[in-house]
């Protein structure tokens, strides 16, 4: 516990400047990837599955960049990763239930 919080010194400007630069680069990359996703969505694919995979693939890449770099998940403390594992398992479970329900043919004749 810090007995006198107001004594916190300003952060190293070089370090903060580097961090901010990275975030600006990430933002520009995200905008470019968004435009790429828009462009891909108008490319005629031979199958709808390939079309969906390509667009969602770019979106997933964008999401990974936001989570990993912007939200610092890549360098964040281990404990955060540990409880996020439960969240991811839960979400995967939800999607698995959706898939199981859709492909379930029990009782169908």
């Amino acid at each position: 516990m810090n007995p006198n919080p107001s004594t916190h010194a300003p952060a190293d400007p070089h370090e903060i400047g580097k961090n901010v630069k990275t975030q600006v680069r990430v933002g520009i990359t995200l905008v470019i990837f968004t435009l790429v996703a828009v462009a891909i969505s108008y490319v005629p694919f031979h199958s709808q599955r390939a079309h969906i995979l390509a667009v969602i693939g770019v979106a997933a890449l964008n999401a990974l960049i936001v989570a990993g770099i912007s939200m610092h998940l890549k360098t964040e403390k281990k404990i955060i990763g540990q409880f996020l594992v439960f969240t991811i398992v839960f979400v995967i479970g939800l999607f698995a239930l959706t898939a199981l329900a859709f492909f379930d043919s029990t009782g169908l004749h």
């Binding site: 961090n19 901010v20 995200l30 936001v66 403390k77 404990i79 409880f83 959706t98 329900a101």
Partner: protein, 291 residues
């Protein structure tokens, strides 16, 4: 009494209170949106191709909104950086820009995109009457090209009284370009720039109508899940803006005078939340606007 670990991290976790709290909150939010996206997948894979509309949302406007939200994430980080370097006036400037971007996003969504949808009208034609409206549906042309049939005529409802008048026998619809010229190959797939509603009025007998609705949640599963997810996302944007406004107004200045690092930490966790809101939109945009 002073609350411990609001600025300095705990020895065992290496995290200060707000940091661990925001990550727990984000974890619960991932589950909330995960549930909604799995509902989307379920509705989408279960829907008949004719019942899942394509190209009804304005892609250029959606792209612009995505860019605005990403820009707001950048300005939020710049605000945090300024605070860490104890440049309060710079912080105020960048935080002001973040709030402005957030408000622009909301204005486009709630005051432009949503009202446009509520003005648009869709009439689903009964299976047995599709032939009667062939000049506006072009199903023979679509079948020859191996494309799914059209069962809906869209546009702006001309005689609005038809919605409430039980004696009204027909809908008069100023149709969209796709229904005015259904065999035009440029409408075989969604267009980047939408064409405006034409002046061509089509009269549709109510007895030929399966059901009719404005582009509201009752129109289709697509609009039901679209309004649910984008509405919930808009609520998250509003929540984030309230927090940013709180730190931008004199409350932020007071906290800065008392302990600048405390304000910097609070802004940092708000930024984490804002990035998450950004992340959700990164999936919302392609899923609804592009696919």
């Amino acid at each position: 009494m002073e609350i411990p670990y609001i600025v300095t991290p705990r020895e065992d976790t290496g995290l200060w209170n707000a940091k661990i709290a925001i990550w727990l909150f984000i974890a619960s939010e991932v589950m909330l949106f995960g549930g909604l996206f799995s509902a989307y997948v379920f509705l989408r894979i279960g829907a008949d191709a004719s019942h899942w509309p394509h190209g009804l949302l304005n892609v250029p406007v959606g792209t612009l909104n995505t860019a605005i939200l990403i820009t707001s994430s950048i300005t939020a980080v710049l605000a945090w950086g300024a605070l860490k370097m104890r440049q309060f006036s710079k912080y105020k400037f960048y935080m002001g820009l973040t709030i402005l971007c957030g408000l622009t996003f909301l204005t486009i969504k709630l005051a432009y995109e949503y009202p446009q949808k509520f003005q648009h009208f869709g009439v689903f034609i009964k299976q047995e009457s599709l032939g009667k409206y062939e000049p506006y549906l072009g199903n023979a042309y679509l079948a020859a090209k191996g494309l799914p049939p059209r069962i809906e005529i869209t546009g702006h409802l001309h005689n609005k009284s038809a919605l409430t008048d039980p004696n009204a026998k027909e809908y008069e619809v100023a149709v969209d370009a796709v229904n005015a010229d259904p065999t035009n190959p440029e409408f075989d797939c969604p267009r980047f720039i939408q064409k405006p509603v034409t002046g061509k009025i089509v009269t549709i007998d109510k007895e030929d109508v399966e059901y009719a609705s404005v582009f509201a949640p009752r129109h289709s599963s697509f609009f039901a899940i679209y309004f649910t997810i984008t509405g919930l996302h808009a609520l998250h944007v509003i929540g984030g803006l309230i927090v940013f406004l709180y730190f931008w107004l004199p409350c932020g200045a007071n906290l800065y005078k008392k302990d600048p690092e405390h304000l910097a930490n609070r802004v940092e966790v708000s930024c984490l939340y804002w990035h998450f809101v950004d992340l959700v939109w990164i999936f919302v945009f392609p899923v609804f606007y592009l696919l």
